[in-house]
């Protein structure tokens, strides 16, 4: 492959990202009223503990059956059985640094190495001061057996693994994202 092209470098979304990236239906991975739907809410904080008010979280996940409506899923693209399931969510942070996503529990996924991935969402974090998106994963706290054998969780040093676990909340789960500091979230190169 002698004629490979250099990739276009990333740049920050800057402070006014909401002009271009705001979708009124962004936070709705599933429509309101979907059976089993819950909210994932969280706050993004910087290294000084200040909320990050000019950021955006995007989520991507399998449907409840663990399938993707996508041609590169080698099991075949399959439209979700759950009406209105988009798989993708997008939420700007508000003036408290908080984002929110309405979604349903993704199914577990087969892993090419023969294992099983626990239900998870993959997240991108974009914001002022972030020259490239940050990538992390969100796991659910009420899946201890699946989480215990998840290959990605297990690849993370034990003392930092907890930063990838959401916690229970009244209407779903809470998942704060710490850009720096003692509780810095694990971010990935993908």
């Amino acid at each position: 492959m002698s004629d490979r092209l250099g990739v276009t470098p990333a740049q920050t979304v800057g402070p006014y990202l909401s002009i271009g990236l705001h979708w009124p239906d962004g936070p709705y991975v599933v429509p309101e009223g979907t059976p089993g739907a819950f909210w994932i809410r969280g706050r993004i904080v910087d290294g000084t503990g200040e909320p990050v008010v000019d950021a955006l979280v995007e989520s991507w996940q399998a449907d409840p059956d663990g399938r993707f409506d996508h041609p590169d899923d080698p099991r075949g693209a399959r439209p979700p059985r759950l009406a209105g399931f988009r798989g993708f969510g997008r939420s700007e942070t508000d003036d408290q640094g908080c984002y929110r996503l309405l979604t349903v529990r993704p199914g577990p996924l087969p892993d090419p190495d023969g294992g099983t991935e626990a239900p998870h969402l993959t997240l991108s974090v974009l914001g002022r001061g972030l020259l490239h998106r940050l990538v992390t994963r969100l796991y659910l706290p009420d899946e201890p057996a699946a989480n215990a054998v998840d290959p990605v969780l297990n690849s993370v040093e034990a003392e930092r693994r907890g930063t990838l676990l959401a916690s229970a909340a009244p209407d779903g789960f809470r998942f704060d994202i710490h850009l720096q500091g003692d509780r810095e979230t694990v971010f990935f190169a993908v």
């Binding site: 990236l21 996508h70 996924l109 914001g127 001061g129 020259l131 690849s155």
Partner: protein, 247 residues
């Protein structure tokens, strides 16, 4: 659900990992906001599994007729130099990325964003929102009509000014290809003092963020034109891909 109990041997595409210099280092203290926001721990390795090699294929239903033309979204015309911004979206192997959503946003001709937190004393243009969306065609081409954005001051360093730019957001085919970047204009005299552009250390890579003036694409007696081609990550060659060359 009985068919999917094991994924052993699942033939997943593999996206080439970016070179170290391909993107700006997250911690780039010349751009002051990175100091409190860039993670300090090294990034962990995420294998590319089903969630990463798939991604949202959105757009068709999200676009209005005039979303690609930022000069026709109001009753009146916006102030400023009308320009066409067009280009091709390809992957690192030169393959077009078709039917992918491209979102842009920008300041108006005076360098002012239509945003509550942009308060510097340059005029708002009532006829310009500064937001556009389109889908690439089957060859990966996109085209916007807009106005030349102005430069604007910011507080990063003494007498700091952002060179004129347009923000671009792209999804590509998979989560691995997601890219948000900025397009700059050729010959901008403000480049030398801009830490955001210069956060890209490799001069060749930096040059890929600068559009090319494209006289052939101008519209006589109407608009000047710039070409900005975008390259998303390519895939490793795998046996799987041989049967997948969809032309």
């Amino acid at each position: 659900m009985t068919e999917d109990t094991t994924g052993r041997g699942l033939p997943l595409p593999v996206y080439r990992r970016d070179d170290v210099d391909a993107h700006p280092p997250l911690f780039s203290p010349g751009y002051r906001s990175t100091v409190t926001r860039a993670p300090r721990q090294p990034l962990a390795h995420l294998p590319q599994r089903l969630t990463e090699v798939t991604g949202p294929l959105l757009g068709e239903g999200r676009l209005g007729d005039l979303d690609h033309d930022l000069t026709r979204q109001h009753d009146g015309s916006p102030q400023g130099q009308r320009i066409i911004v067009h280009g091709r979206v390809r992957d690192g192997d030169g393959r077009p990325v078709p039917r992918t959503l491209v979102e842009i946003w920008q300041a108006n001709a005076a360098g002012r964003y239509r945003h509550a937190r942009d308060t510097w004393p340059a005029p708002i243009d009532p006829h310009f929102d500064g937001v556009g969306r389109t889908l690439t065609d089957d060859q990966g081409r996109y085209r916007f009509v807009t106005v030349q954005p102005g430069a604007y001051p910011w507080r990063n360093h003494d007498n700091a000014w952002r060179p004129a730019h347009i923000h671009f957001s792209l999804f590509g085919r998979a989560f691995t290809q997601r890219l948000v970047t900025q397009m700059y204009f050729p010959g901008d005299p403000l480049f030398f003092q801009d830490p955001v552009l210069h956060s890209v250390r490799d001069p060749m890579a930096r040059q890929r963020l600068v559009a090319r003036y494209d006289h052939a694409a101008t519209q006589p007696e109407w608009a000047l034109a710039y070409a900005f081609d975008i390259v998303l990550r390519g895939r490793e060659d795998t046996p799987f891909e041989d049967g997948d060359d969809d032309e």
